[in-house]
Symmetry: D2
Subunit: 404 residues, 4 copies
Amino acid sequence: MTIDLDALYIDLHRHPELSFQETRTAGVITRELDALGLEFEEGVGRTGVVTVIRNGSGPVVWLRADTDGLPVEEQTGLAYASTARGVDPAGTDVPVMHACGHDMHVTALLGALEKLQATREEWSGTVVAVFQPAEEYGAGAQAMIADGVLDRYPRPDIVLGQHLTPLPAGTIGVRPGTQMAASDGLTVRLLGRGGHGSRPHSTIDPVVMAAATVMRLQTVVSREIDPREMAVVTVGSIHAGLKNNIIPAEAKLELSLRYPDDDARADVLARVERIVRAEAAASGAEEEPVITTDHTLPPTINDPAATAKLTAAFDRAFGDGTVVDPGMFTGSEDVSWFAREAGVPLVYWFWGGVDPQQYADAVAAGTVARDIPTNHSPFFAPILHPTIERGVDALTVAAREFLA
Amino acid sequence: MTIDLDALYIDLHRHPELSFQETRTAGVITRELDALGLEFEEGVGRTGVVTVIRNGSGPVVWLRADTDGLPVEEQTGLAYASTARGVDPAGTDVPVMHACGHDMHVTALLGALEKLQATREEWSGTVVAVFQPAEEYGAGAQAMIADGVLDRYPRPDIVLGQHLTPLPAGTIGVRPGTQMAASDGLTVRLLGRGGHGSRPHSTIDPVVMAAATVMRLQTVVSREIDPREMAVVTVGSIHAGLKNNIIPAEAKLELSLRYPDDDARADVLARVERIVRAEAAASGAEEEPVITTDHTLPPTINDPAATAKLTAAFDRAFGDGTVVDPGMFTGSEDVSWFAREAGVPLVYWFWGGVDPQQYADAVAAGTVARDIPTNHSPFFAPILHPTIERGVDALTVAAREFLA
Amino acid sequence: MTIDLDALYIDLHRHPELSFQETRTAGVITRELDALGLEFEEGVGRTGVVTVIRNGSGPVVWLRADTDGLPVEEQTGLAYASTARGVDPAGTDVPVMHACGHDMHVTALLGALEKLQATREEWSGTVVAVFQPAEEYGAGAQAMIADGVLDRYPRPDIVLGQHLTPLPAGTIGVRPGTQMAASDGLTVRLLGRGGHGSRPHSTIDPVVMAAATVMRLQTVVSREIDPREMAVVTVGSIHAGLKNNIIPAEAKLELSLRYPDDDARADVLARVERIVRAEAAASGAEEEPVITTDHTLPPTINDPAATAKLTAAFDRAFGDGTVVDPGMFTGSEDVSWFAREAGVPLVYWFWGGVDPQQYADAVAAGTVARDIPTNHSPFFAPILHPTIERGVDALTVAAREFLA
Amino acid sequence: MTIDLDALYIDLHRHPELSFQETRTAGVITRELDALGLEFEEGVGRTGVVTVIRNGSGPVVWLRADTDGLPVEEQTGLAYASTARGVDPAGTDVPVMHACGHDMHVTALLGALEKLQATREEWSGTVVAVFQPAEEYGAGAQAMIADGVLDRYPRPDIVLGQHLTPLPAGTIGVRPGTQMAASDGLTVRLLGRGGHGSRPHSTIDPVVMAAATVMRLQTVVSREIDPREMAVVTVGSIHAGLKNNIIPAEAKLELSLRYPDDDARADVLARVERIVRAEAAASGAEEEPVITTDHTLPPTINDPAATAKLTAAFDRAFGDGTVVDPGMFTGSEDVSWFAREAGVPLVYWFWGGVDPQQYADAVAAGTVARDIPTNHSPFFAPILHPTIERGVDALTVAAREFLA
């Protein structure tokens, strides 16, 4: 290989950057693209990079990798552990770590581009590689789309992507249908009337209004959704009041909602809004609650036909048993925006980065949950081999399967 | 006296009757009225009795005693304890006891009528004695009014009444303003949609709707009423469902509400209705809840001027210190209907029936709550003397105070 | 065939019997077994029937059909609709209907026995046919086991059974793993202290205790169970109090819990008990709540290997596409007790009874939920053909697959 | 008078100071004490001032005035309105106003000292004047006691004080028994376990724990306290969480509790703690909640005998009808600490500062609540006359009543 993927990965790992600040990372990517003789564009969606390999007629396959790190202080003890720091949107100085494996995503995509470039005579069509920023904010894909990425480059016939996960290295996890949940973040302002803590009857107490709302919201999942379906209604934050003896005028709730698909989204959102408005009415609120949507992440839905085709290709390439069904994840991703906006299929799979022996021992001891660090953990530390090779090959095999 | 009041009281105590079944009691009353040479009418408001003493020009004073017993099994161990039984409105055979002292009320009123009759030359005006049934159902006064009691007899210039209470015998308790609370009994039907217990999402669960409503109703008293005001919102019964694995179609709540006056009634009723309707809406109910009023008892409000006048009269008649302020009772009475319908003042007082030494000992020992049986207790057992005398005299003094 | 299956089904349908009262049904079954020359035993588990076909060495296959009807008033309008009535355990006279298809279960098993008897030369081993009563009470299987059914007859190597369902006639639905949920029915007595509705402070209000408990129980499903797992916590009934102005001394809740497996059962039961006890403590209850288990239904878990084997056999016998994955049902069954107690595999499948054209039309119109009556509906009316044939053949094919 | 009370009041009103920052105010006070020839001590309890008039043998009477202003922006439009600013304990620059009338309290006490000094020959005994800081924080009285005020000066035989209130100027409001409520401020930390918003089952959700606790706390007042008694349980602030998709590890509640006396305090505190602990248990919390008391204000209980004596003295001095029963206030005061610590009687009364004609008009129009600004309002603006005179005279009459 032209690119030294081990060195590349270690360099990226040492130098993680927060969302929409991935400028050094973009520089590393473009340096390697340059070395591969590929043209590219920087600054797509603020800090994204796009490159295109045009190779005759045939389908257009998009390969996507996300590039940002997280405000986590690395505790892996690795020789190449991050000591980087950054400034978050609130202006706070924070440690930064590639705790979600996006450094491996970038490494694998660059490796795959080299392989595809080296085998141009074996396939025809167009490969678009999308290095997307700010996945951790759920904002990067939409930023690239707003910046015209779907119009300025060949539109995809399929969008492919992959995510590192705590499965044994070598293993690939993918399922048809919903692979990751949809999610909305809502802010709810409940408007009461403030007053002295000793005179509740002169107020409309927003603390009680908020408490009753939180309790009632539990019934969406417990009573209103088919018990066999996945749905989550989390109130992640609740804030009202300054001191004990003043009843405040309002309360603020922040909700995170999760669902398997768009129908469930519409359904759950309607139920949440119904409850919020009714609980304000139960308090005799004089003003309607204010509900705003802070972000919307679509479900990550794998096209069944394309997933079946790809699974078969992985089995052929890597041997039977390589591909497992990892189940649906209740976490969310923004990769889907590319496929949804373009109206084309998506396949998004997971690949393992854990030492297989360590994994097998943990399974035998029943200590997987304790001993195998997951994404976002300060101990998240994929082994380099065969993780890098499998990531490169999975992307290459997948791209080739959908090119001519 | 013509009437043997001790024997009369013991006879009544031995033979209590349930509400609207006071026929033997009416027979006893009319036998004594006959003996006093007074004309009377039976069957007023089903089982009530009314007699009138006309004695020249002057004010019309109504004296009211209620006549019914309670479905309580007497455990006083008295020689003249009740062993009576009756059939309640549900058709159940139940024990019956004068556990609220209405036997003493009747005895005192008959004694007072004899005294007033014997002293006709000392006063002028009209005395109407009302032996009212079914106070325990909160229905007897309204039944008599519906039967025309206010039109068929001289309309009152004032309504007077008294109730036995566990104060020391000899003591009278009365206060101006609200003496006993107003009360409403409501039935609330919460309408959901039934279904199988394993499929809550196909239902609108009325059990959860009812539970949320009960919890929210707590906030009327805890947050919406001035902490210095008396208000009670009790859900005395809740019923829904037949078995564990069927979600029923509706739930029924029965509420008892208490307030000091009519303004508070309107206010609390509006708050309760607001919450019930909003909680149904929070459940997504397809039908509005059905709220019905089962009974309404007005506040027992003592006219301040008349109460002051009467308190002074009691002090003169019985000595300073006889009259105490017993505080407001959260229990309710239907005597007020007579005064409210007629638009005239009411004074309703309490008089004690407990052995004074026993009471003093209990106070000293701090065991009043434990040792002194209250109204409706199976151990409620007033001493005969001076309870009877004080009851007779209090009514006589009071009537004379407001007659010419 | 010796047996006229159409006439048999219609006769059973006309004469449904309530659980543990299936004596006429047992008579019909034994008459047909007699006609087939099979020996049998009646009264196993009160009203069950067992017969055995011994046919040389080989595996022992149990075939189970349940026999009871439901207290539902038939509204199908069929010529052979039930007009039967019965007396339920509470002593109430109720209508009775085969609204769950157990008449078809019995018909198919008798037909299968005739086929197996007629083809004895083609297989060897032992068939035990179990006509189980009282499935609707979740009590019949355990009654038969308590009566020694596993000891008095050849112990199974596998247990097989089938249930009629609103799929198109001809279709078979089965899945490996959990096919139907486990379930427990609990009664919870919450002990407070009663008193007058106007004096809540002298009581420990069990209505509020119950309401708070119901609201808190919602959080088991909404917060404590993996959103991807099935769990149901239904409070199907809540009862406390006699009238609005008396605060009762206790409240009774009846809960129906559902889970996919035994681990989830233990987990959910522990969480429910934790909440019930803590909410009683929050009320300051002086006595612990009393929690009793009314019934326990295990999960209906299909052995994966046996299910795969059987699915292949159905495909061969009936053509590809006959077998569909119907998903897990949140309803429950007691058939598993036989396999669990014996420690052997179970396969339990569903077969369709709906006119295929009607079903296709409803699917096209999006009106399946409205137009296709489900089990327990008063309109549940399977078509006779090919429902009977497919039921007979499915049992026969299945039995033969596991016999030698 | 030596002191120009109008000018003094206006000067104080123009220059309010926040709690424990009353240094300019202390300077004004000591300047006037100096002018009266009285010795004094500054810095008692940080910013308090104490002076003593020793005048032969006889009772020791303490007269107390509080001195601090509030962080309120004055909107009275008065020529002498405050434009002062201060820095609050959080370091924030805030407007400051004498919105509670403490400027009038100081003025009246200085005027009374002059009068008492001028009439030394008419009385004997000792007057101790206490200018207390930081009443608004509920901390000044305890700070002075901690600084030895009860030991370094003649111990009181009685403690007297007065508060300006929106009654008509000239009127005095006082009642025997509880005049102002007791109060505690509590902080409750509810400890759960944090995690990702999409994985509630891996957490112990403190937001739900807090909401359930708030709802349950409502039942203390609604169910557990005699409806005729005053009690308030306010949750004035609730805080948990940073963003919608992270379930936080803990929640914080701040409670303000109010009661009429110490028995009720102990009772309500025990109930609140019981509920907080049980709701944490209902959530399966692994750590006990942490409950801390931020401040404790005793009930302001007027000694009945002393209050009767004082009421009679006021009637004699100012004419019948001057003294009204203002009812109990649910607000709280720290003046009681002096009397409680010393074990002597307290009388604390209110005096009016509203233009009587304006007040009468508002009563007639039913607009008192809207038109008469209350304490802590930015529009609170007592008229100078006869407010100052009545304040001076009330203190003087009261002191004389309890001196020899």
